[in-house]
Every structure is written in structure tokens, then in C-alpha cells.
């Protein structure tokens, strides 16, 4: 039993906005009342649910090749072992132990990897098992799956839905992820998809059909988190039209558009960017079926890693730095390039401003989540600074002094005076991601919720405040005090088990025999072995 008394509580899901009230923890959950045990006097402190990162890249082959590729990213940011924590390295692609510890030390207790190729699901689970403290899961890539494209083309909606369900079960993933739908397949012959209606050579489908079919599947399967979309044309000037088209293509279907910052550019391909956030945010504001996370860019050196192969090559051409490309049989691809965002660069400054515009122009905080698309826009270690940029207009204006003025002038950022409240911060970093993910016991402090709690000392400098929580409680255990981890624990992995018609396996087996290099029987991830600590999230009708 833990009693947290006298704290200023921010729990948006339960409509609690800074009231001083006591929180009771019984075992692993929030309780209505209780006595005895530990008491934390949180007078003058802010109490929030544990943070949730709904889109980051922390596990799986792409992340790991990036680690292998960048010793220089690691050797100057090292973590010695302690009596109870493992050693590791940081940088933009931290080792797994460091990733878990640093999320926890920052008050984050849940994180989802956003792009795992199904064929490598086993690998992602192995890494997640070595990522301590946080609860986790991943979305698996389906937007360029050749089996899916073939059956969309032949109009076999049932088979597509059953296959998607089978694949989620086989990979023990949490949701369906689309990355540059159709474009990554085209990249396998050096092409790309430039509009929603480009035909994917050899498959007679278009990105539009892929988006609609898999959005339907995610709804029909009642996935707790609906389809998670990385649009076509990421990072290309003028891509905002594609983004708008994608939103329209969803019609009234629920869908999440990720790292929207990277998809909000006006201009002509190859040329300079300018912001189209106003237009896109208007559309999002007026369409409650849509949600976004930002993918904020922060200045400095980081590593771009994406399932978007052609984008990886584009970044290699722009930066001239080392480049990894991996094409995954019948499924996906990926591209990795180190990148340094410079405040004096017109393009980078525009990206920085666009991200902030998104935060400030979306009216409903319940449909926007704070992310950097770690590590693509910046490392997750930047979240506290981003929070300060949102809460502190003065700091924001001061920061604008250092970035390319021409770029800023082409955005509305200088005119935006909105400041986030602690309540709104609690929404975009906790409550909203929990809701968008359909995690009923996360992101709030109501009775029965998981006892993941972060307690901050109040501080006018919000970056300081959010960098070093006073306490972090995970599953009812006090793990962090004053930013120091007191104990090493393992979180659990969330996954879904949607039902499907077993008949589909006959089709799939045939497909494996013809085109895969692993046996159908050896493909599915063994639940007991690879998810030793797990929680299946039910797929039920949430309407």
C-alpha cells in the first residue's frame, strides 16, 4: 500500500484538473482508499499518470542495425552498471537496458515500437524483453505486404481481414501499421508511390485501396488501436496534398496519422518547404475520426530509421552519410541514415516550427499525442524541452531567435500565443495516447487503473520539472526517486488476439511454400517463450 497525499493531481480521463487529493495504491493498482504502508507527502508536487509514448523506434531489426552502424553515437554517452542496473550506452539509439531506464527516469512507463516487419517479430520481442521497467508492444507492418496486396486486387476483403488477424496473432503485435503503403513495394525496383492512385507494379492495387482495406480490417477486427498510418511522400515538399488525400480516403473510418509533422509540407518536390499545418489541422479539427502524433523535430544529431525504404535513400542523397537499406521478403523494407538537424537550415527550422504549429493548432488535445518519432525527429530525451516549448510562450519566442528567420516567417508559429496547461500536457502525454491505444488501465489514476504514477516537483522551468521526476511508481512499486532508479523490474508486453477463419491458413501456407524462405510452421512467435510477461488486450466493439 502506498498513499500519495497532498499532491496536485492531473488526471484528465477522470476530469481531475489540479485538485489536491490523495491517491491510494494497493498492490499493482489504484485503490479507492487504504491505510498503512508507505506515505508520500506530495505537497507542492504534481501527480500524473505515467507517461505513454505511442510511437517510437526502440526494438527490432531496424533499430538494431542502426545501433551496429553507429559506434560513434554510443561511445560518448555511456552508462556504467550499478549494483542493480545493467550497463549500456545512450545516444540517439540507446541499448535496450538504457532505453527502459531512461524512459522510466523521465516518468514514462509505457512505450510502443511503431514499425516491426512481421518476419522479424521474434527479434522485436527479444529486444522488448531486454527493455526494462516500461510496459510495451509494437505495431506490425502490413502496408506493403504482397499477400495482402494480391487479395485486395482480387477483391477478397474477407481473406485480407483474416490474414491481418492471422498475422497479428502470429507476430503477437498490437496493431496494424502502414508505412508508405505501396511505395515500399515499388522501392524494391527503385520506384515509389507519389499519389494515392499510383498503381503498385505487379499487384494492380493503389495506396488508396491499401489504406481503405486495412482501415476496414482494423475496425472489423475491433482492434483496440485502429490503423496506424505513415503516409506516402514523407519528407517531400508538397506532400501535404497526399496527407490530406489520405485523411479523406479514410472517410469516416477511424485512423491515426503518425509523425504528421513530416507530412505537412507545401512547396514543390525537391524545393524548399513551407508549412501547410493550418489547412491540415483544420481538417483534423473538423473530423473526430482522425488522430495524430506529431513527430517533433529538435535540433542536433540523431538517426533516421524508417520502414520507408525510398525515404531512407532520399535522406542518404541529401546528407551523403552512411546508409542502410533492408528489403524484407514479401513484406516490407527499411532505411537508416544518421542526420543532424541544424537550426540555421531552412528545411530543418521549418520542420521544427511545423511540429510546434501542430501542437498549437489542433484544438482537441485528445486527438494529438506528443512524440518525436524517436529517434527520427529527435531522441525521446527531448520530451521535457518540448513540454517547455508548449507551456512557456516566452521560452518559445526566445528559442525562435536562434532558428532560421526566413523559415519561421513562412509559418504561423510566431503568431501563436497558446500555452499548454499541465492538464493539457497530461492529456497529450498520458490520457490521449492511452485512449487512442484503447488501454483502459493506462493513462489515468481512477480506481482499478495500473498504478503507474509520476510525481514532479513543481518548477517554473518546465523542462527541469519534467526531466527529473521526484518519484516514479510503476505497477505500484516506487522505482525512481529524484531521477535515480532504485530497482530494476520488467514490464509486460501488450498484444492482441483477434479471431479469424482458420480456413485462411491454407491460402497462407501455399503462399509460404512458394515465396517465403522460412517454413509456415516456424513463422509464428511462440507466446510462452517470447512473451514471458504479457497482457492480451481484448478486441471488442468500442462503439
Amino acid at each position: 500500500m502506498i498513499r500519495i497525499i497532498n499532491g496536485e493531481v492531473y488526471d484528465p480521463i477522470n476530469g481531475i484538473n489540479g485538485e489536491v487529493r490523495d491517491i491510494f495504491v494497493d498492490d499493482r493498482s489504484i485503490a479507492a482508499a487504504g491505510a498503512g504502508g508507505t506515505t508520500i507527502d506530495a505537497a507542492g508536487m504534481v501527480v500524473m499518470p505515467g507517461g505513454i509514448d505511442m510511437h517510437c523506434h526502440i526494438a527490432g531489426p531496424k533499430v538494431n542495425i542502426a545501433r551496429k552502424m553507429r559506434p560513434e553515437d554510443h561511445r560518448n554517452d555511456v552508462l556504467p552498471r550499478t549494483q542493480f542496473t545493467r550497463s549500456g550506452v545512450g545516444g540517439s539509439i540507446p541499448s535496450t537496458f538504457t532505453t527502459g531506464y531512461r524512459y522510466a527516469a523521465m516518468g514514462y512507463t509505457t512505450a510502443f515500437d511503431a514499425a516491426v516487419p512481421p518476419l522479424a517479430a521474434r527479434h522485436a520481442h527479444e529486444e522488448l524483453n531486454d527493455t526494462p521497467v516500461v510496459d510495451k508492444g509494437f505495431y506490425t507492418l502490413m502496408g506493403n505486404n504482397e499477400f495482402i496486396m494480391q487479395h485486395i486486387a482480387s477483391g477478397e476483403k474477407e481473406i485480407v481481414r483474416n490474414f491481418a488477424a492471422w498475422l497479428l496473432n502470429a507476430t503477437k503485435a498490437y496493431s496494424i501499421k502502414l508505412v508508405n503503403p505501396g511505395g515500399v513495394e515499388l522501392w524494391k525496383s527503385l520506384g515509389n508511390a507519389h499519389t494515392l492512385d499510383d498503381e503498385v507494379t505487379g499487384f494492380k492495387v493503389t495506396p488508396r485501396q491499401i489504406i481503405q482495406s486495412l482501415a476496414d480490417a482494423s475496425i472489423e477486427l475491433n482492434l483496440p488501436h485502429r490503423v496506424h498510418i505513415h503516409c506516402n511522400n514523407l519528407g517531400i515538399a508538397g506532400n501535404w496534398e497526399t496527407t490530406l488525400e489520405t485523411m479523406k480516403a479514410l472517410e469516416d473510418r477511424q485512423g491515426h496519422l503518425t509523425h504528421i509533422q513530416f507530412h505537412s509540407y507545401g512547396g514543390t518536390p525537391g524545393g524548399l518547404f513551407h508549412s501547410k499545418v493550418v489547412e491540415l489541422a483544420d481538417y483534423v479539427n473538423s473530423h473526430p475520426n482522425l488522430s495524430v502524433d506529431v513527430g517533433q523535430v529538435m535540433f542536433g544529431d540523431t538517426t533516421s530509421m524508417t520502414g520507408d525504404g525510398p525515404l531512407g535513400y532520399l535522406l542518404y542523397q541529401v546528407t551523403g552519410r552512411k546508409w542502410v537499406n533492408v528489403d524484407v521478403e514479401n513484406e516490407e523494407g527499411c532505411g537508416i541514415v544518421p542526420i543532424e538537424y541544424k537550426d540555421k537550415s531552412h528545411v530543418h527550422a521549418t520542420q521544427w516550427a511545423i511540429g510546434l504549429e501542430w501542437f498549437l493548432l489542433v484544438k482537441d488535445p485528445w486527438r494529438i499525442a506528443l512524440t518525436t518519432d524517436h529517434p527520427n525527429g529527435a531522441s525521446f530525451a527531448n520530451y521535457p524541452r518540448i513540454i517547455r516549448l508548449l507551456m512557456d510562450r516566452g521560452y518559445r519566442k526566445e528559442s525562435m531567435q536562434h532558428v532560421n528567420p526566413k523559415a519561421l516567417a513562412d509559418t504561423t508559429l510566431p503568431d501563436l500565443d497558446r500555452e499548454y496547461s499541465l492538464y493539457e500536457i497530461a492529456i497529450i502525454t498520458r490520457a490521449a495516447p492511452a485512449r487512442l491505444l484503447g488501454l483502459a488501465k493506462k493513462g489515468h489514476l481512477g480506481v482499478g487503473a495500473d498504478a503507474d504514477i509520476t510525481i514532479y516537483d513543481k518548477n517554473d522551468n518546465k523542462e527541469k520539472m519534467f526531466s527529473v521526476p521526484r518519484y516514479v511508481i510503476k505497477d505500484g512499486q516506487i522505482l525512481v526517486e529524484d531521477g535515480h532508479l532504485r530497482e530494476d523490474v520488467s514490464g509486460r508486453t501488450f498484444y492482441v488476439t483477434p479471431e479469424y477463419d482458420l480456413e485462411v491458413e491454407k491460402e497462407i501456407r501455399k503462399y509460404f511454400d512458394a515465396y517465403y524462405t522460412v517454413e509456415f510452421e516456424n513463422y509464428p512467435v511462440q507466446l510462452e517463450h517470447y512473451l514471458p510477461r504479457r497482457e492480451a488486450v481484448m478486441c471488442r466493439d468500442i462503439k
Partner: protein
């Protein structure tokens, strides 16, 4: 300033990133003796491994066979270190200023990624002299390295600025992927000299075997070399009188990268 004498010989690497004038500055011997050092995996202090004597000299003097002592002078910004004996790996790696003289041989990565200062090695240097660590974008970036003996592979690899002078021979991949800077080799060069070089100059007195992507341009008298030779001569290096006025065969390359680098070969090298 201070003299350190290695107390005993051990097979274990002794890692002492703390032996720099910056760290010793204004410290009494008692404090210097408490600076960290690591023998194998055993954390200790300089005093455990060195007899430390204070003297009037303004330099740090090291004595004994320091062939297994790593990171001497690494990252130093000022002052002088003189080593009587061999020095281990990473000597002066990342140094930004000051001067290190080694009366003996050094291990690999001497002067790797240094950004200033001077390293003088009277014996042989190992591999990666003035080079880059794995994954880094550049090696040596400003400063001077002078080796009287031979140097190993990847000498000046990914070099960005500065000067490396080797009186003896240099093994394979001298100046590989160098971005700029100058490498002057009195002896013979190994294979793949200047592979992938963008800009920069490699000067030699013996015709090296060059890659197919280096092309012969002309014979000429590069003005900047006569200046370089004069200054080297003034430092007492065996620079022959004829060189300053001598002609050089110019090969440009590496055309697989940019082709703006040059390998200059002394035209009368049939001596």
C-alpha cells in the same frame, strides 16, 4: 612539473586518461597520486602504479616501459609531456593542444581524431596514426604528427586538416578517405595509398603503386612544398637541399570520390 616512473610491469593494459597537463595543473603530488587509473579491470590511482616526483621542470615526464599504458595525453589542451620509453595505444588521441614527445615506439591510434597540438615520435608508430575511430566522420583535424620511424595501416585515414610527417615507411591505406590535410612520407608507401581521398595531399619520394582511380597529370614544382621543406629543415629534419626546388609527378584522385586529392611523387627518386 612532475615525473612519473612506472613502478612495475604488468601484462594488463593500464588505462590512464588522467595523465595530462590539464589534470595535473596546480595539483600537489599527493593529489596527482590520487587521480584515477585502471589496471585491467581494477580501479586504482596513479600513485599505485607510478612513483611520482615533483621537479622544477614545466613538463610531465614519464619513464619506464609504458607500452601497455593507454590514453597518455588523450584530450590534452596545453602543456608538454615527454615519454622516455614506449607508449601504449591512444597516445594523444583527441588532443586539442600542447605537445607530446615519445622517445620510443607508440601503439595504435596515436593522435587519432586530434584537433590540435603536436606529437613527436622518435621510434615507430602503430596503425591508425592520426586516424579515425570506427564510425567517426573524420580522423585528425588540425595539428602536427612527426614520426621518425615507420607507421602502420590507415595512417591519416579520414584526415580533415593538419600534417603528418613520417621519415620511415608507411603501410597500407595511407590517407584513406582523407578529406584534406597533408601526409609527407620520406620512405615507402604500402598499397592503396589515398583510397577514397576527396581533397588533401600525399607526398612521397618513392613511386607508390596507385589505384586505377588515380590519374597522372604532370610534373611540376609545387610552391607550398618548398615552404614546408624549409620549415621541416629548420626543425632539424633530414630534408635534402634539392627537394625544396625539386619537381614532383602529380597524380590526382581518388576519382571514385571526387578526384580533388593529389599524390605527389618526387621526380628524381631513382636515388
Amino acid at each position: 612539473m612532475t615525473t612519473l616512473h612506472l613502478k612495475f610491469r604488468s601484462n594488463f593494459p593500464l588505462d590512464t586518461e588522467s595523465i595530462t597537463p590539464d589534470q595535473f595543473k596546480d595539483k600537489p603530488v599527493s593529489e596527482i597520486a590520487r587521480l584515477p587509473a585502471l589496471l585491467g579491470n581494477q580501479a586504482g590511482a596513479l600513485g599505485d602504479f607510478f612513483t611520482i616526483m615533483d621537479d622544477s621542470s614545466p613538463v610531465i615526464t614519464l619513464e619506464g616501459d609504458l607500452g601497455r599504458v593507454k590514453h597518455i595525453g588523450a584530450g590534452m589542451t596545453e602543456g608538454k609531456i615527454v615519454i622516455h620509453g614506449n607508449a601504449g595505444m591512444h597516445l594523444g588521441a583527441g588532443m586539442r593542444g600542447g605537445e607530446i614527445t615519445v622517445h620510443g615506439d607508440t601503439g595504435d591510434w596515436a593522435g587519432a581524431e586530434m584537433t590540435g597540438g603536436k606529437i613527436h615520435i622518435t621510434g615507430n608508430a602503430g596503425h591508425g596514426l592520426g586516424g579515425a575511430y570506427r564510425g567517426s566522420r573524420h580522423g585528425m583535424n588540425r595539428g602536427l604528427i612527426l614520426v621518425e620511424g615507420n607507421a602502420g595501416n590507415e595512417t591519416g585515414a579520414l584526415m580533415r586538416r593538419g600534417l603528418i610527417v613520417v621519415l620511415g615507411n608507411v603501410a597500407d591505406f595511407a590517407g584513406a578517405f582523407m578529406l584534406a590535410g597533408t601526409i609527407l612520407v620520406f620512405g615507402k608507401l604500402g598499397a592503396r595509398t589515398g583510397a577514397g581521398m576527396k581533397y588533401g595531399t600525399i607526398v612521397t619520394f618513392h613511386q607508390p603503386e596507385l589505384l586505377a582511380t588515380f590519374h597522372y597529370d604532370c610534373v611540376y614544382r609545387p610552391g607550398f612544398l618548398s615552404l614546408l621543406f624549409k620549415s621541416l629543415r629548420s626543425q632539424g629534419l633530414p630534408v635534402e637541399a634539392g627537394w625544396a626546388a625539386g619537381s614532383f609527378r602529380r597524380y590526382s584522385g581518388d576519382f571514385n570520390t571526387l578526384g580533388k586529392g593529389e599524390v605527389l611523387v618526387y621526380a628524381q627518386d631513382e636515388r
